[in-house]
Symmetry: C2
Subunit: 175 residues, 2 copies
């Protein structure tokens, strides 16, 4: 029944809600679902791969401190992004460590949906888990959905975990 | 880490290739994938639910013996469909029995994609596994795809297992 471990890639991102702890509601839900429903107590049979894709300058618009006057400002911003990304991955790696699942985590830059599909091609996981805000068709027009793109284009099976209705923030686009 | 078993619904169908053993290539692939990559040796932690949806008279067009001259002919046809459906489910139930996974299997009539989503709503599995022929966009226009509909409408996470390229029959619409 397969001696090799099952390799699961989990795409994770930061919360868009200020002051909220780092992982988004839907990435945390996707991770917990994977642990509770798939891995369960069979921790040695699975390896998790956490990929966090940072969109350059994603949060630049609503941060009042994002005024760039020198090359140093850009360097500071990049440094800040890097630290935030590391904190995000720390959350998931710590959880895996507590549970006893072997994992790896890394950060990339770019368009999340494209980078995720590219990393799937490179690493060939057995499947990909993506959280989803579960937006309606009208909202999707404006925000796009990574999960739908990955479902169509990733070269491995994809499982989309929709956010629970009772965890939806006031603005459902937030996560 | 969850004391309740993980309930997995697997939608299965018959092969469209005459003379081929009963399960379609993609349903068998989806089942084997679920066993090898998810259930693995943790057989007591999972229950499988096999749903086979029969489309009434699906194969009537190319069977030379499908001439209906009396109410008896329809009864015979229904009886034949029932037997074929049972043979299909027997394959999966036997496999589960050999592996040691608890399962249930049943047959329903109707439009597969709608019946599957309806049964998900009724049984609330933790996730649904659907095989897919992995057709291109042009072929999809003509044959429709159950997996895409379920991915969009089923009220649980859906994992689509595409048929392996080396298992594609001469006519990729066959399965």
């Amino acid at each position: 029944m397969g001696d090799e471990v099952t390799r699961v890639m989990v795409a994770v991102n930061e919360s868009s809600i200020k002051g909220y702890p780092h992982p988004s509601i839907s990435s945390r839900g996707a991770f917990e679902w994977t642990i509770n429903k798939i891995v369960r107590s069979n921790v040695s049979a699975f390896n998790l791969f956490f990929l966090h894709v940072q969109v350059p300058d994603e949060d630049g618009f609503d941060e009042t401190d994002s005024i760039y006057a020198s090359p140093e400002d850009f360097k500071n911003m990049k440094q800040r992004d890097r630290i935030r990304g590391i904190h995000l991955l720390e959350y998931f790696v710590n959880r895996c460590h507590d549970i006893g699942v072997v994992c790896q985590a890394w950060i990339m830059q770019g368009d999340p949906k494209e980078v995720i599909c590219h990393e799937v091609q490179r690493l060939r996981p057995d499947f990909l888990v993506v959280g989803s805000r579960g937006l309606g068709p009208f909202q999707k027009v404006f925000v796009g959905t990574v999960s739908e793109f990955c479902w169509k284009h990733a070269e491995c099976p994809v499982i989309t975990i929709k956010r629970k209705p009772d965890e939806t923030p006031q603005d459902p686009v937030d996560d």
